[in-house]
């Protein structure tokens, strides 16, 4: 016998989901649709006519060598920040989960960076990393080449990666801690009784058991790094020096909002959307296979 709760009246169900559908439509499909339209036209910022140009905007985007540079930088940024923030988030979560001395306080404190808005964090880090005023100033006095994010692109990139990872590690920490605490204590206690050391328990029991969370964090970290990096880049480097920290999302902001090239920015955001879809697809296709959902 089939046991399934259904509404007798179809319209009632529809009525319940209508608000959600409306929200998704207004805040997602509508803007995406507008962006799609702009990407194929040349839109004048103050309105008054837009011309259909087919794939011209996309052709121009892909013909630009700086754009390819921007894609590579964004991928590097995504890989580095995902690795760093997940590693640190996990490390802190494992430590807190063990219930070391004072862990209640740390558990609260470690979450805070995520509550700091990106531009505020970026402002603080800009000061910390300023070659003449920050932590490296003494070393910079000896050797000006040692640290100069205003001129050295690698330094600037390192700086934004650290700032972003600092903030995002806190986010990873919340999820990893939740996942670790969901592991039944009895499993861990049993292995402890069998004489497994702390590290052995982490690698053989805890980590395998939280792989679903791990996978989720990987997907989310990579997607977010494409979108959320904007505020940090804007405050810390403005995409410079040269174009060394011009990530895809910053370029979209600059071309669209500062440069008023709405169509070029729309085409770029469609491309960014496709890149993220492809990346996510591959992660689900190839990495999720290794994930065991209990």
């Amino acid at each position: 016998m089939e046991k399934r709760a259904t509404f007798a009246m179809g319209w009632l169900g529809m009525a319940f989901i209508l608000p959600q559908i409306l929200l998704v439509f207004i805040f997602f499909y509508w803007p995406t649709g507008a962006a799609m339209f702009w990407a194929f036209t040349l839109e004048r910022p103050w309105g008054g006519g837009n011309e259909w140009v087919g794939f011209d905007n996309f052709r121009q985007v892909f013909a630009d060598r700086a754009y390819w540079g921007s894609i590579i930088r964004s991928l590097m940024f995504a890989a580095s920040t995902a690795t760093l923030s997940m590693a640190f988030g996990l490390l802190l979560a494992v430590a807190c989960d063990r219930g070391l001395k004072g862990y209640q306080a740390f558990r609260t404190v470690f979450v805070w960076p995520y509550a700091v808005v990106a531009p505020a964090a970026a402002l603080a880090f800009r000061f910390i990393f300023a070659p003449e005023a920050g932590i490296f100033s003494a070393l910079v006095k000896q050797n000006p080449e040692f640290w100069n994010p205003a001129q050295n692109g690698y330094h600037a990139m390192t700086m934004i990666i650290i700032c972003y990872s600092w903030k995002y590690a806190a986010y990873c920490f919340i999820f990893f801690l939740a996942a670790l605490q969901a592991i039944p204590r009895s499993v861990i206690e049993a292995s402890a009784l069998d004489g497994a050391s702390v590290l052995r328990r982490v690698f053989d029991i805890q980590l395998p058991l939280i792989t679903p969370t791990f996978f989720f964090m990987l997907v989310i970290s990579i997607t977010d790094s494409f979108q959320d990096s904007f505020g940090i880049v804007d405050v810390m480097t403005d995409g410079g020096p040269g174009k060394a920290t011009e990530l895809l999302v910053y370029k979209i902001y600059f071309d669209g909002f500062r440069g008023l090239d709405y169509s070029g920015a729309a085409a770029q955001s469609i491309v960014l959307m496709l890149i993220m879809m492809v990346l996510t697809f591959f992660q689900f296709r190839y990495i999720e296979r290794r994930v065991h959902y209990s």
Partner: protein, 442 residues
């Protein structure tokens, strides 16, 4: 007794609200913040106190960029303010749109006779259409100046600022030899060394009269004197005469100059007030006109800043208010108030004369600011000096800045850097031309 008091109070409140309700309210959005934003608020308050028919509500949008973006979004949603402040580089997009009410029409329709020739030519031409007519009201205006530390220059036996670039580099060398770590501070800003440089030395930055005669203009700063000046600047940098000062390095050029770390900087006259307020006590400094090239006759410099536009889609009463406000800020005593409280310069000849007559420029801390007007008035305005009207100018400025950063980091040679910046800028210009295909520059 108490009830009588309450009744009186209520009556008072009612008349107050009735009066307020009679006033026509209209909005102005601007991009200034901090001290400057506060002064804008005071200007608005002065206007509101000066008459009882209109009430202007001034709102800061946080930055020039935000003011522009928000005004566009609001205009598209038909919820735009009556007046919006748009910075110099945003002028062309608005000029090509149908979103504004031309300044002349607005004033004529509302019965104000404005002496348009009263505007300082270098200021009005920057914002005017190809016929020389103003479509917006120049508001906060500045130009670039050379700030120099008199104490440091005294040590190298100089009592005057250098007048040519050649002399400037010699002075920087002497300053270095005299033991100054940072003779000149620079922040990759192209405004003084490319835009102002072009006007002062009477060289075009783009074909078609710097873009005034058509959207098919091409950017040409990878040739001739531009290459030379960037090369000299790069050499000066390599010799330790010029130091990069940006927020990323820990101090802006203004901070580095005001605390005497650096002895020279090229910056807006609008920073005059900031330097006065934040300078090291006893530091003696002054401003001078930007240097020219040796043997070149000095031409007028370009105005920077923003102008006020009346946007479409408002009621006649609101436009009447806007016209009254524009008329109010054009009065000489408004100019005096504005320039006293900010570093900006008066935009009209009568405003400038009035301020001179009041003795404004005779004493510190305002002494020296008259040089900005002198710089703007250095010559009659011509094709190369009236302004720069390029589409996507914000992107072009960024391309130049990116190129300069790469040049100074030794990643590319001066020629390579400028060539690629110009090539990329021309892509921006062609796209802009296509976006406005069939549109004539007004």
């Amino acid at each position: 007794m108490k009830s009588k008091f309450l009744i009186t109070l209520a009556a008072l409140l009612m008349t107050a609200t009735a009066q307020a309700a009679e006033r026509v309210k209209f909005e102005m959005w601007h991009g200034l913040t901090g001290d400057l934003g506060g002064v804008v608020d005071q200007v608005c308050k002065r206007f509101n106190d000066s008459q009882s028919d209109y009430e202007i509500i001034c709102t800061s949008q946080g930055s020039y960029d935000n003011a522009l973006q928000n005004a566009i979004a609001a205009y598209r949603a038909k919820k735009n303010p009556t007046i919006v402040q748009i910075f110099d580089a945003g002028t062309l997009d608005l000029l090509l749109s149908e979103a504004y009410v031309p300044a002349r029409k607005l004033m004529a329709d509302n019965g104000y006779k404005i002496n348009w020739d009263d505007y300082i030519p270098a200021i009005s031409n920057y914002y005017a259409n190809s016929k020389g007519e103003l479509n917006s009201f120049p508001f906060n205006s500045s130009t670039a100046m050379m700030y120099w530390n008199k104490d440091a220059f005294a040590k190298i036996g100089k009592t005057e600022a250098p007048k040519t670039w050649e002399e400037t580099f010699d002075s920087l060398k002497a300053l270095k030899a005299a033991g100054y770590e940072c003779p000149m501070a620079w922040n990759y800003d192209t405004w003084p060394i490319m835009e102002q440089f072009s006007a002062i030395n009477n060289i075009p930055v783009a074909t078609k009269g710097n873009g005034y005669q058509g959207l098919d203009t091409e950017f040409i700063v990878n040739k001739g004197k531009y290459v030379d000046v960037i090369k000299s600047l790069k050499k000066a940098y390599d010799d330790g005469l010029v130091k990069i000062k940006t927020p990323d390095t820990g101090a802006t050029i203004v901070q580095a100059f005001a605390n005497t770390d650096c002895q020279v900087m090229l910056s807006s006259i609008a920073d005059h007030g900031t330097v006065s307020k934040t300078q090291k006590p006893d530091m003696k400094w002054d401003v001078a006109m930007l240097p020219t090239l040796a043997g070149v006759e000095r031409h007028n410099s370009l105005v920077g800043g923003a102008s006020l536009w009346a946007l479409q889609g408002k009621s006649d009463a609101e436009y009447k208010g806007a016209a009254a406000f524009f008329n109010f800020i054009a009065q000489p005593d408004s100019a005096l108030f504005w320039s006293t409280n900010t570093g900006y310069i008066p935009v009209t000849k009568s405003g400038f004369e009035f301020m001179k007559a009041q003795g404004f420029y005779d004493k510190a801390p305002y002494k020296g600011r008259e040089l900005a007007i002198a710089s703007l008035n250095a010559s009659p305005v011509n094709e190369n000096t009236r302004g720069i009207r390029l589409g996507g100018f914000v992107q072009i400025r960024k391309e130049m800045r990116d190129a300069l950063t790469d040049i100074f980091a030794n990643k590319v040679s001066v020629e390579e850097g400028l060539n690629s910046a110009v090539e990329r800028s021309n892509v921006v210009l062609r796209k802009f031309e296509k976006t406005y295909a069939g549109k004539m520059l007004p």
